[in-house]
Symmetry: C2
Subunit: 373 residues, 2 copies
C-alpha cells in the first residue's frame, strides 16, 4: 500500500503537527525519528533492540546497498525486510546525498552522476531511473526521488539550474517507478532561496508524490539558515502529506523543525555519537571518555527506561568505550536512539497540550544550561 | 560458597567424566565450555545473549581488568558480576598467561614477573600475592593461582625449575587468599614431561585446592603433544575435584580432551573466529567471506537453534562481515558459542550412553570429511 498520512492537529501557536502514518507495517505517530541502518543494519543493534527502543520506520541507504551486497542479492533474498530480518517499515534514500558527500571525483550531467566505486575504483553512473530501479528491487516501503544536494557555498545561478534538474530527475524517476507496495517521495531543494524552495515544492506537488522530503539543509550551514530553509519548504507543502527532513538529528534541530512543521527525521548521529563515547541526555551531550565517570556507578540517565540505563553504569560503559569493546557502542546506541525517540514522544505530547513553545524553552534551559565535559 | 564438584559417572571405555558443579550461581553440568569475556564483556554480546546460548560460567581476565579499568573500580562497583551485569558464575585467570603472551619484555624472578604496561609503558610487577589480591577484589567465583606458562621450545632443566617456582607461587597465593565466597584452583604445569606433570599435580593436591587447572597445553605444540600433556595431568588429579583445561577450544580438542578426563574448557576462539567471518559447523569451519555464500539464503546450520540460525542467512551475515558491520561478528559469536556449548551437550549425552568413541569417530568424519572453503 501507499503510505497514508493523517493530520490530527496543528499546535495552537506554531506550525507543529501531530499526525499518523499508515504503512505496510502498521500505524505510527508523528513527529517521529528514524534510526539509520546504512548497510541494512543499524550499527551494532539487532532488530529486537530497535523495537525495544520503540523504533518505527528505519532508513537504509540505496548507495551503500547498491555497491554492497548489490540490489540483486537483496531482491533474491526476498527484499530488504527479509534480508535484514526487519519486520517494520523501511525508507530508502535515493543515493543522491551519498554521491554528493562520499563519491569523489564526480561528474554531474543531465543524465545522472558519474563517479568511482569507492571499493574497487570502477566507473559508475547513478541516474534517476537507476536509483528508482534499485529502490524498487530493495522493496523498501518508502523510496526517494534522485536529487542533487547542493553544498555551501554556491551561487544562486547554480542552485536555479540544479533545482530544475532535480525536478526533471524527480519526473524521470516517477515515470519508471514500478512497485505497487512502495511509496515515492519528492525532495524539495532550493538551498536558502525562498522562491526556489517554493518553486521546487510547487512543481513536486503538481507531480503528486506520496510524501515530501526536505533536502540540502544538513550540509554545513548555520542552524538559523537550516531552520529558514525548512520554513520556506514546509510553507509550500500540502497539509495532507507527510514531511520528512533528511539527515537532521541534533536534538535542538528536531525541536525547532517540529515547530516549523516537520513530521519525520533521520540521522546517523545517535549511533555515530555512541561509537565516540557520547551519550545524549536531557542535560546535554556527555562524553563518557571523561575521567570523572571512572567511578560513576549511576546510569547515563535516571529518567531513561532504555536497556542501557536499566542495567549498566556510566563507569562500566566508560570502561567498554576505553577498552574499544563494541558492547559499549551498542549500549550507547540503544540509549541515544531511545533518547531521540523519547524526544519525539515528548514533542507529540507538547503538541497535544498546545505548549510546544514552553517545551522548547524548558528543553533549551536543560540541554544547554549546565556546563558539562 | 566454594565450588562443589560431583562426579556422576565415568564413561565405560574412556576417562570421560559426566559431572555437576555447584556454584554461587546454581548448578551446571560438565563437561562444559566457558565463553571468554576478557575485558568484562564477551566481545559483541550481552549477558542476555550469553544466557540464550546456555552459557554457564564465563571467564574474565585478571591482567586486562587490572590494567583497565583497575580492580578498585570493579571492587567499588560491587564486584565483577554487578559491574558487567552478569548474573552467573565467573572464573578469573591469574594473569600468568597474559604476562607470558602479551607483556614484552618481561623479567621473571622468584618474586614475580616484571613487565611494561602495554597501554602507558609503566613498569609493573605481578606477583602471586598481587594476582590473588586483584582476583579477591574482582570477586569472581573461581580464582586461579599465579603460574608460569612455559612456551616451546624449552629445556627440561628450565621446566623443572619453573614447576618448582609455580608450586611456590601457588602456595604463596593460597596463603594470602581471602575471599570466602571464592574458590581457588591450582594449575598443573610441567610441559610434556610426565614426571614433572605428576610432581606438579601431586604437590598441588597436597595443598588441597578447590579445583585443578591444566596449563601450558595451548602454546603452539602439536595436538598429539597437547593430548599427551592432558593425559599426564589428569592421571594424577583427584576424582572428586573439577578439572579445567585452560585456553583450549578447537572442537576436536574438546572432544579428545573430554575423552581424557577434562571437565571445563575456555577459549577466545568462538568470538575471534566470528570477527574474522568464520562459523563452526558440524561439517567443519566455514568462511563466510567466501564468494559462494553471496546468494546463500540458508542459515549457517539447519540443525542449530541459535538466534543467528533462526533469523539470518549466510548471505546476510556475509554482507555484514564484508561491510565490517559489528552485527555480523555478533551473530557469528552467538552461533560459534552455541556450537561449542552444544558440542559439550552432545559429549555429555555420549558419556551417558557410553558411546563417546563412536561419537568421536562420527564427529571426525563429519567435521573433517568435507572439502570446504
Amino acid at each position: 500500500m501507499k503510505i497514508e498520512y493523517t493530520l490530527i492537529k496543528t499546535e495552537k501557536n506554531t506550525k507543529a503537527r501531530l499526525g499518523k502514518i499508515k504503512t505496510n507495517y502498521g500505524e505510527y505517530d508523528t513527529p517521529m525519528f528514524m534510526p539509520v541502518g546504512t548497510q541494512a543494519t543499524v550499527k551494532t543493534l539487532s532488530p529486537e533492540e530497535l523495537k525495544e527502543c520503540d523504533a518505527g520506520i528505519i532508513l537504509a541507504n540505496t548507495y551503500h546497498l547498491w555497491l554492497r551486497p548489490g540490489e540483486d542479492v537483496i531482491d533474491e533474498a526476498g527484499g530488504l525486510h527479509k534480508f535484514m530480518n526487519w519486520n517494520g517499515p523501511i525508507l530508502t534514500d535515493s543515493g543522491g546525498f551519498q554521491v554528493f558527500s562520499l563519491a569523489k571525483p564526480k561528474d554531474i550531467t543531465e543524465e545522472g552522476v558519474k563517479f568511482k566505486n569507492q571499493y574497487n575504483g570502477d566507473s559508475l553512473l547513478l541516474t534517476p531511473e537507476k536509483s528508482i530501479e534499485i529502490q524498487n528491487k530493495l522493496d523498501s516501503d518508502i523510496a526517494m526521488s534522485f536529487d542533487e544536494c547542493v553544498g555551501f557555498p554556491h551561487t544562486r545561478e547554480y542552485v536555479e539550474k540544479s533545482v530544475e534538474r532535480t525536478l526533471r530527475w524527480a519526473k524521470r524517476g516517477k515515470e519508471v517507478f514500478n512497485n505497487p507496495r512502495q511509496s515515492l517521495f519528492g525532495i524539495v531543494q532550493g538551498a536558502e532561496f525562498e522562491d526556489l524552495r517554493r518553486h521546487c515544492a510547487e512543481e513536486l506537488v503538481k507531480m503528486d508524490f506520496d510524501g515530501y522530503s526536505i533536502g540540502g539543509t544538513s550540509v554545513g550551514e548555520s542552524k538559523d539558515v537550516q531552520y529558514q530553509m525548512v520554513e520556506y519548504s514546509c510553507k509550500y507543502l500540502p497539509e495532507n502529506k507527510v514531511r520528512y527532513l533528511m539527515g537532521v538529528g541534533d536534538p535542538i534541530d528536531i525541536v525547532e523543525n517540529v515547530i516549523r512543521g516537520v513530521d519525520i527525521f533521520d540521522c546517523v548521529s545517535p549511533t555515530r555519537l555512541a561509537r565516540h563515547g557520547h551519550a545524549l541526555t536531557k542535560y546535554g551531550k556527555i562524553n563518557l571518555k571523561n575521567a570523572k565517570y571512572k567511578k560513576d556507578f549511576t546510569p547515563i540517565s535516571d529518567e531513561c527506561n532504555c536497556y542501557a540505563c536499566q542495567h549498566y553504569t556510566k563507569s562500566y560503559i566508560k570502561h567498554l568505550i576505553n577498552a574499544e569493546e563494541t558492547f559499549g557502542a551498542r549500549l550507547l546506541s540503544i540509549h541515544n536512539i531511545s533518547y531521540l525517540i523519547n524526544l519525539t514522544k515528548e514533542l507529540r505530547e507538547a503538541i497535544k497540550n498546545d505548549n510546544i513553545l514552553e517545551y522548547r524553552e524548558e528543553f533549551i534551559k536543560n540541554y544547554y544550561g549546565r556546563k558539562e565535559d
